[in-house]
């Protein structure tokens, strides 16, 4: 496959997202512009201009009407996607590390940094779609970092927008009631900073990635680690593929630990693991630096990776990707089908 190279950013990428239909890709980087691209040909539709610092995070709502960005300039901005118009700005106390719309698009979460004497906080704002220019800038709920907990690095909504799951600096995962902000549970799953947390399509389980070189699949209800993927490099991102039972992990050795040759040859790889069996099944090379974020097309037909090298690479999966199955899977499917047929006979 020949990937599309999106070179709109001058600095390393921080987040890459698809919208619900997967026709648009939203990218943010350490420069001050967010970029929106057509996924099928890599054409840049436009940019969101207005932030005064690194944009750490971006999200788009279900209808692709509004997008939100969180920046190091202590603000989160709402944008009208079609025109790139900045419709509202939420001012916060510290840099915004993560933003995400709730599943029903009625709320928005912002993870803010723990600096300058402010506690790291997950702030939840109510969204007003009737008049997008008027938003309530007082959060509905603020979840401050609890006593004895390290600061939150990532957070996301679960199914039904019921809970919020947060990943902490020291590898702990914690769960909160999304309405009341009440702490429910936590689990120490990683030995290092949790760098990413992405949900399955139905938002009943999620995948985490960490600097401790591992990635876990964790159940929302029990916070039980269902699967573990071990790699040889610090991980920055992990995504679950729809359609196929894979996960895609991205990361890479710090520049100082890498041979110059591998740096020059673009040997930084996206790693594909089988979600159920936990084996590594393939790699895709191409980036000239660690992979900072991985997003998979909602229909599972392509994936995009944003790198420390400032490039976004969009890869369309080939037929072989969809054909690949473990013998065990084939057998299981065959028996399932045959048993279904038996049922029909009866």
């Amino acid at each position: 496959m020949r990937p599309l190279l999106l070179k709109g950013h001058e600095r390393s990428l921080t987040q890459v997202k698809y919208n619900r239909e997967g026709d648009l890709i939203f990218t943010v980087a350490k420069d001050k512009e967010a970029s929106i691209w057509y996924s099928f040909n890599g054409e840049r539709v436009g940019t969101f201009n207005g932030h005064g610092g690194t944009i750490w995070s971006i999200d788009v709502d279900q209808e692709t009407l509004l997008a939100v960005t969180g920046s190091a300039d202590f603000s989160a901005k709402l944008w009208k996607v079609e025109t790139g118009e900045n419709v509202f700005t939420f001012k916060l106390n510290t840099p915004v590390r993560r933003v995400e719309f709730s599943g029903k698009n009625d709320r928005l979460l912002c993870v803010t940094d723990e600096v300058m004497g402010f506690k790291g906080t997950i702030s939840i704002f109510k969204l007003n779609y009737n008049d997008i220019y008027t938003q309530d800038s007082t959060p509905l709920v603020s979840i401050e970092t609890r006593e004895n907990f390290k600061k939150v690095s990532v957070a996301a909504w679960t199914y039904n927008d019921k809970y919020i799951i947060a990943g902490h600096q020291d590898g702990v995962i914690s769960k909160y009631d999304a309405t009341t902000g009440e702490f429910i549970d936590s689990a120490h799953v990683h030995e290092g900073l949790v760098t990413d947390l992405q949900f399955s399509k139905d938002r009943t389980y999620f995948i985490t990635s960490s600097k401790d070189k591992t990635s876990h699949i964790v159940d929302v209800d029990t916070l039980e680690v269902l699967k573990t993927f071990e790699t040889d490099a610090p991980l920055n991102s992990a995504a679950i593929t729809p359609v196929k039972e894979f996960v895609v992990l991205g990361g890479g050795q710090e520049a100082r630990d890498v041979t110059t040759s591998s740096m020059a040859q673009g040997k930084f790889e996206a790693r594909f693991y089988h979600k159920v069996f936990g084996d590594e099944v393939g790699r895709v090379k191409g980036h000239f630096g660690p992979l900072n974020y991985i997003a998979v097309h909602p229909k599972g037909t392509s994936y995009a990776s944003g790198g420390e090298d400032g490039y976004v690479r969009v890869h369309e999966f080939e037929k072989s990707y969809f054909d690949f199955k473990y013998d065990v899977e084939i057998t299981a499917e065959a028996t399932k089908n045959s048993s279904l047929n038996d049922d029909d006979d009866q």
């Binding site: 139905d202 009943t204 159940d219 071990e230 040889d232 890498v258 041979t259 473990y326 065990v328 299981a332």
Partner: protein
């Protein structure tokens, strides 16, 4: 008058801050040295009074042989006018007494009589004042503790080898399973060692290093065996037959206080205080001998190791001293040969022969000769010398003179049939360096020396294990080398075929194949010979890689290769491994492991196992991977005949093993499939449960609304036909 004075009580005066040292020195009672010029001689013949003059004469002469002057000699007579076997002797000085005791104590006067000499003061000190009980108390022997069978791993049915791996705080011992994941021989242990692990040379023990000392482990379960307490120990080494252990600690030995509870179990005595180097008996766990660190090494940043070198059979060991070589005999209470070091001016380095030598002059039934080689550098009026010395006779068997020498390295062939001396030489201007190889042929009469003069500098040299071939890595211009251009040359040498020369002719080596333009810097011969792996290790600009060569490749020789030798080299495989930091053959020579240790860098940490032709069998990336070590094997107990038989029936044997392998592979595959099935089942069940919950929670799957979609008709181009033709070359 004085009685009337009120005596101040001693307690009322505080004397603690008064310095009495001057008084103490002035009034110190000198030790009574009156009798220290005397010694008591014991074990002399008992003779009648008439023989006293002659006996006196004989004994006086004997006593004077150590160089002292006997001033007085008194043979007391018993009641029946006979000498009593002892005598009082007076020397002219204390030094003479000590000298006489040192060199004459325990010597035999004749067949029947052994003379014992003791200082008179010692007799008083130990024998008279009741310090030593007269009654003989039998020393309590520690109860015999049975250890597991230390060679149990050799009884593995499949003849597999073991290795240890160290990762983070964990150390595990595993069975090699070729392509399959290694099977733990024992449960991996955390904090088994503080720094590193080391196998003993024959593989019986695994040693771990701790701040308090080292510990031996062994047997099937790797239970703790003996402990060797040596605080701060950093380096360890073994005698070739793993009878002795040598440890070195930068911390000098100090004894715990007399009343300290650890004193009783402390292995060292007064004499070892301040010493850093210890030789231990592995079986008993007790120190055999301790040494202080030589002065020039006391503050050295890079320690030369080993400091103690051993003869092939553990009998002799030697250390290098300034202008001398100290050789000790373990069968003589680890004493210096002839009680003194061998004086060799400017000696730089030495190396024992790794096997006993069958000299041409020796008779068949003579024991094999122990020998060592050493070299001395050029001085203003002397050439550099390489000499071969027989031990313990100290007879120099052969010397060669060399000039314009910058360095000398010894490379003994395993069977000690040949000694290759790599002589790095320089031109007069000292700008150009080149190497000469001098080969001592030890089994031939008069030990002839064959010389190979090269234009290049040899950077690495390796004998084929138990063979007479060798491989060198050389570089024409080491001084001005641009590191990004591969300039190293591999050269394969073999002995000239005997048919080409007459039967009695001396052996000649021929460089029959050279391959230029390499980065390679490391040579590892398979322990069974024939196969050799060369690697590029280290060097940031270059990429690590391994090349596998077969020296007896069966195939047509190319024209360029020399027909004078029977060997035929073939590069069987090349593998690029940028992270490689070490490599090692397994003791059977069937596998080669290469690994990347986090001790050196963080690139591609983990290990890879290759077969002897360089096919990658197993590749594991392991975070924090530190070290790997194959467990060595002792020599095979099979006779040459048995081996021959095994070779003859190789096909039968291999068929049996292949069958086992296939079965094993099947089993592994079956297990893998079962495991995967279980995983799939587990996941399916999990999802089923979630699906049920979904209803419960009211999660709705995304609905695809029909009205969102419209049907568009589009004109598309379809390729009906496509042809390609080449129009231009």
């Amino acid at each position: 008058m004085s009685t009337e004075l009120v005596k101040p009580t001693l307690d009322s005066i505080d004397v603690s801050d008064i310095d009495f040292t001057d008084l103490e020195a002035e009034y110190a009672v000198p030790e009574d040295e009156t009798f220290s010029q005397y010694l008591i001689l014991d074990g002399a013949p008992i003779a009648p009074e008439s023989k006293v003059p002659i006996l006196t004469k004989v004994l006086t002469k004997f006593l004077s042989s150590a160089g002292g002057k006997v001033v007085d000699f008194y043979l007391p007579l018993s009641d029946d006018k006979k000498t009593q076997g002892f005598a009082f002797v007076q020397f002219s000085s204390v030094a003479e007494v000590e000298k006489a005791i040192r060199s004459l104590n325990g010597k035999k006067l004749d067949v029947k009589h052994t003379l014992y000499l003791n200082k008179l003061s010692d007799i008083e000190k130990y024998a008279l004042s009741g310090k030593i009980p007269d009654e003989f108390v039998e020393p309590k022997l520690a109860e015999f503790q049975e250890t597991d069978y230390l060679k149990s791993w050799l009884m593995d049915d499949a003849g597999r080898d073991q290795f240890y791996m160290q990762k983070g705080e964990m150390v595990g011992v595993f069975w090699n399973k070729k392509n399959d994941p290694a099977e733990p021989a024992v449960e991996p242990r955390s904090n088994w060692t503080q720094t590193y692990m080391k196998w003993s040379p024959k593989g019986s023990y695994l040693f771990s290093v701790h701040p308090q000392g080292v510990q031996a482990w062994g047997g099937a379960e790797f239970k703790g065996l003996k402990r060797f307490i040596h605080p701060g120990v950093k380096l360890l080494d073994f005698s070739p037959n793993e009878k002795y252990l040598v440890t070195l600690s930068p911390v000098a030995i100090t004894l715990p206080d007399e009343d300290h509870p650890s004193r009783a179990s402390y292995p060292f005595g007064e004499k070892s205080t301040g010493h850093q180097l210890v030789i231990w008996d592995i079986l008993s766990g007790t120190p055999v001998k301790t040494f202080p660190l030589p002065a020039h090494l006391a503050h050295a940043k890079e320690m030369t190791w080993p400091l103690i070198k051993w003869s092939y059979d553990d009998r002799y060991f030697a250390r290098l001293g300034p202008n001398a070589l100290a050789v000790y005999d373990t069968e003589d209470d680890c004493q210096l040969l002839d009680r003194k070091p061998i004086k060799i001016d400017d000696i730089v380095d030495f190396e024992f022969a790794p096997a006993g030598i069958q000299l041409a002059t020796a008779r068949k039934q003579d024991p094999l000769t122990h020998a060592l080689a050493y070299w001395t550098p050029e001085t203003s009026n002397q050439t550099a010398k390489v000499a071969l010395m027989e031990v313990p006779s100290k007879r120099v068997l052969r010397t060669i003179n060399l000039f314009q020498v910058s360095d000398v390295k010894f490379h003994w062939q395993d069977k000690a049939e040949y000694l290759a001396v790599k002589v790095d030489r320089h031109t007069k201007s000292r700008k150009t360096f080149f190497t000469n190889l001098e080969f001592f042929k030890l089994n031939e009469r008069d030990i002839p020396v064959e010389k190979i003069e090269l234009k290049d500098t040899v950077i690495n040299f390796q004998w084929e294990t138990n063979g007479d071939r060798f491989v060198t890595l050389s570089n024409a211009d080491l001084q001005n080398a641009n590191k990004s251009i591969p300039k190293n040359v591999i050269t394969f040498y073999a002995a000239e075929q005997s048919s080409a020369s007459s039967k009695n002719a001396s052996k000649k080596w021929i460089g029959f194949k050279s391959i230029e333009g390499k980065f390679l810097n490391t040579i590892k011969f398979s322990p069974k010979g024939r196969f050799v792996a060369l690697a590029t290790i280290g060097g940031s600009a270059t990429q690590g890689s391994i090349e596998f060569y077969d020296l007896d490749f069966t195939g047509e020789k190319k024209e360029s290769e020399s027909t004078l030798v029977s060997s035929h080299v073939k590069l069987t495989s090349t593998y690029t491994y940028s992270g490689i930091t070490d490599m090692e053959w397994d003791p059977s020579g069937r596998f080669l492991t290469a690994w990347s240790s986090v001790w050196r860098h963080k690139i591609e940490n983990g290990y890879k196992i290759f077969d002897l032709a360089g096919r990658l069998l197993r590749d594991e990336l392991i975070d924090e991977f530190q070290a790997f070590g194959w467990r060595p094997r002792p020599e095979s107990l099979l006779s040459a005949n048995d081996k021959k038989k095994a070779r003859k029936n190789l096909r039968e044997f291999s068929a049996r093993f292949e069958e086992a392998d296939a079965m094993e592979a099947d089993a592994v595959l079956r297990e893998l499939i079962l495991a995967r099935r279980a995983l799939l089942e587990e996941w399916t069940q999990y999802r089923a449960k979630v699906e049920q919950n979904k209803e419960l929670y009211g999660i709705q799957d995304e609905v695809v609304k029909k009205e969102d979609f419209e049907i568009i008709e589009e004109l598309k181009e379809e390729i009906v036909e496509e042809t390609e033709e080449v129009v231009e070359e």
